[in-house]
């Protein structure tokens, strides 16, 4: 009964989404306030019904309703409750429903927090978001219905993929989707602006906070995925340039460019066509990512098990959305040119460089992901593009970007006097170079050109990011400190710096060793002794495992005991490695069990990972920076109030 209610709710949601699309768009075109007002109401109803559908699916999981095919495939009686909930979005159909829910949520957020926006504009935004909802709801109802029945019902389910039975991975999709789907708001803002032809700076100011929120959630989602891969997959790696990872990374790169481009457009009315194009691209890449993951076109450990029919549907939808947007763009963009100028040394130049380099980086990731497919289709041969290519190719645009980042932050708009600029930056530059040599040599005992460059670049970003906040802290009492948006920028860039430090140090100084080990034996890695005390059998709710007790010592002193496991999940019979990790901000000690070599002997992979936590800490700090930036006063003031204030100020001037 409940699943049928869920299905019916989805159909109602679709009907409301259609209203939400058509009426506001027509109303905005005709200036009909009543029709425009329908947008908010329809969006609310749409959200309510999608939420009901989602609740019904969750209920089916929680009550072990194996007469629902999706539940039967991805759950089982012995599955812990937390994972019964996360299983709702653990596979294709359910995660699609989550996407639809998140889209509906973003839509009502825009519908209710839009005091700034003129009615027609707001109506168009809601209409465009409605169009996107219609597409996804159709996709779900026509090809990927989570409420399909299994008759006769199964006695027990096929279990959730063991890899997904993890708290980190439980929140990973929601965070990611808030990000991906959030870019559709920027997209809708861009489309609405292009339809109305009204593309002045106000549009950029409205779009910015929404985009920043989406971006920060995407940052968190990607970071969580990376952290999860590290502790769950047993190899100690944190990024594999896997097609699905790339699919999430491309929108992030473009989203970052978009945030920065919006800053220029808001401040000086420049880069409008760039910003529009970036807004269109960010969301298009989100859609492309969905396509790559669910169509079976690309091999990936991550890909949902799905099929080409669904692929065709998404591709068609992608085509309609993106081509429609680009046609609007080709129509409106030519008239957007402004006559404002800027000097060679100016923040505009740096931000333009930023845009170009980020777009190049995203293009490289896209090409690297799709090239094997292109080559295979054209020549029948298979070429290999994996981490060795990506790691090098990606550095080509990003290394210059890192250096420029530290400079651009302190460059004035329009034109910057070289002398004062150099005076500010020369000491940080020198200190960074010195640290670039000192850190590898004295702390880790090795040196090479790449190490110096990496450490110097990381130090450079960190120091440069701290200049403004520190000055603000040390300012005279009573004088104004830096605004929140500037603080947010500094914090976000600082996060970037921490990230670069983590990547450089762990890549250069990490140690990995595969060896055979028996109870009573020890191995030495990175100055630590790993002693296998013993092996035992343990049982979990839905798995049985062999657990090794490993004692870590340093110079004879006891440090910690860790317990890596080799689990076998009872239903799917698949084996999973649970690494034993001694975590620390300065380093991780990581042990994973490999294979049983004999009665009691196992192969183990031991890793010494210095500063690896800085990678995810950096991402967290980046997201924090975004949060600080949007808490800036000017976004909290109501739109009418700030309009009145600006007008009053102009009149008085």
């Amino acid at each position: 009964m409940i699943p049928e209610i869920g299905q019916f709710a989805l159909i109602l949601a679709l009907a409301l989404a259609v209203c939400q699309t058509v009426l506001p768009l027509v109303g905005a075109h005709r200036g009909n306030t009543a029709m425009m007002g329908v947008g908010r109401t329809a969006a609310t109803g749409h959200f309510v019904f999608v939420a009901i559908a989602f609740a019904c699916l969750t209920y089916a999981f929680l009550t072990d309703d194996f007469s629902v095919l999706y539940v039967a495939n991805h759950s089982q009686l012995a599955l812990p409750t937390l994972y019964k909930v996360s299983a709702v979005w653990g596979a294709h159909e359910g995660s699609l429903l989550l996407w639809i829910l998140v889209l509906a949520a973003w839509t009502i957020a825009v519908a209710y927090f839009n005091a700034d926006l003129p009615d027609a504009y707001s109506a168009r935004v809601i209409g465009v978001l409605g169009f996107l909802s219609v597409g996804f709801l159709l996709f779900a109802l026509l090809t990927s219905n989570p409420f399909d029945r299994l008759i006769p019902a199964a006695a027990d389910g096929g279990d959730l993929n063991p890899l997904l039975q993890d708290p980190g991975l439980a929140i990973h999709p929601p965070l990611l989707y808030i990000g991906y789907v959030g870019f559709s708001v920027a997209f809708a803002f861009a489309i609405a602006a292009m339809i109305s032809g009204d593309l002045d700076q106000k549009w950029a100011r409205w779009t910015r906070p929404w985009t920043t929120v989406a971006w920060l959630f995407l940052t968190l989602g990607i970071a969580l995925g990376s952290w999860w891969a590290y502790y769950e997959l047993g190899w100690g790696g944190w990024w594999f340039w896997d097609a699905v990872e790339n699919a999430s990374f491309m929108p992030w790169l473009i989203g970052t460019a978009l945030i920065h481009s919006l800053a220029v457009t808001e401040k000086r009315g420049l880069f409008k066509s760039w910003t529009l194009l970036l807004a269109i691209s960010a969301f298009s890449l989100s859609l492309l990512g969905t396509f790559l993951v669910r169509s079976g076109i690309i091999v990936s450990v991550h890909a949902f098990a799905t099929d080409p029919t669904r692929g065709f549907f998404i591709l068609t939808f992608l085509a309609v959305v993106v081509i429609g947007a680009l046609v609007l763009y080709a129509w409106r963009a030519p008239s957007l040119d402004s006559d404002a100028g800027f000097g060679l040394l100016s923040r505009e130049t740096f931000l333009l460089l930023n845009n170009v380099l980020l777009v190049v980086a995203a293009a490289l990731v896209l090409i690297g992901t799709l090239a094997p497919l292109v080559v295979e289709m054209m020549t029948g041969g298979k070429i290999s593009i994996g981490p060795p290519w990506f790691n090098i190719a990606f550095l080509v645009p990003t290394l210059p970007l890192i250096v420029l980042l530290g400079m651009g932050m302190h460059t004035a708009w329009r034109t910057q006097k070289t002398a004062s600029w150099w005076r500010l930056l020369r000491i940080p530059a020198i200190v960074s170079l010195v640290l670039g040599v000192v850190i590898p040599l004295f702390i880790y005992g090795r040196i090479s050109v790449l190490l110096v460059v990496g450490c110097a670049a990381a130090a450079w970003i960190v120091i440069s990011s701290l200049i403004q906040p520190v000055r603000s802290l040390l300012r005279e009492k009573g004088t104004a400190g830096i605004p929140r948006s500037a603080l947010g920028m500094s914090v976000a860039h600082l996060g970037m710096g921490l990230f670069v430090i983590g990547v450089t140090v762990v890549s250069a100084f990490g140690i990995e060793s595969d060896q055979a080990l028996q109870p009573g034996e020890s191995i030495e890695v990175g100055g630590f002794e790993f002693h296998m005390v013993g092996l035992s059998n343990v049982r979990g709710p839905n798995f049985s495992a062999i657990e090794a007790e490993i004692e870590i010592r340093r110079d004879g002193e006891f440090v910690d005991t860790i317990r890596p496991q080799k689990r076998q999940y009872l239903v799917q019979k698949s084996w999973m490695t649970e690494a034993g990790i001694r975590a620390g901000l300065d380093k991780d000690l990581f042990v994973a069990l490999g294979d049983q070599l004999g009665q009691n002997a196992w192969s183990v992979r031991v890793q010494y990972k210095p500063l690896i936590r800085f990678i995810w800490l950096g991402a967290l700090v980046m997201a924090l920076g975004g949060l600080i930036a949007i808490s800036d006063r000017r976004y909290r003031r109501s739109g009418r109030e700030s309009e009145a204030r600006t007008r009053a100020a102009e009149a008085a001037a």
Partner: protein, 141 residues
């Protein structure tokens, strides 16, 4: 649907194991380093998204054995790469070799950056010629 799901699960099963290598294969640290570098750059074709260093399926173990044998026989890295490519195609190597075809792949990032730089230079040059004083200023960034 179930079969595809099983395929994914099987892939994941495979991906959760890794190389046995009971201790060091070579006593000479230089040879051992060469060996480890080679096996980390050869794709495990049964799993397709892991190196034979990280994978523990039979084929991966067989390929590691062959590579070790070839190192014992004194073959160069290029000869070993050639051995694999003849049998499995370029796909077997994680790092594309620098041949005529793949050269394009390696210099492509630089080309793209240069292209971007050129476009940027044109824009900046144009903007430098326009008047700098202007219009609305907003506080903050």
């Amino acid at each position: 649907m179930k079969r595809l799901f099983a395929l994914v699960a099987a892939t994941l099963l495979v991906s959760s194991a890794f190389a046995i290598d009971e201790g060091k294969r070579f006593d000479d640290p230089e040879l051992q380093a060469r060996y480890e570098k080679l096996i980390s750059e050869v794709r495990c074709l049964q799993c397709q998204n892991q190196s034979i260093k990280d994978s523990n399926v039979t084929l991966a173990a067989d390929l590691r054995r062959e590579i070790a044998r070839m190192i014992d026989e004194g073959q160069t890295d290029e000869q070993i790469a050639e051995f694999l490519v003849v049998r499995y195609g370029e796909f077997a190597l994680y790092r594309p070799r620098t041949t005529g075809k793949t050269l394009l792949l390696w210099i492509f990032p630089f080309l793209l950056v240069l292209l971007g730089g050129y476009a940027l230079a044109r824009v900046v040059k144009h903007r430098m010629s326009l008047p700098i004083d202007d219009d609305i200023t907003q506080e903050g960034q």
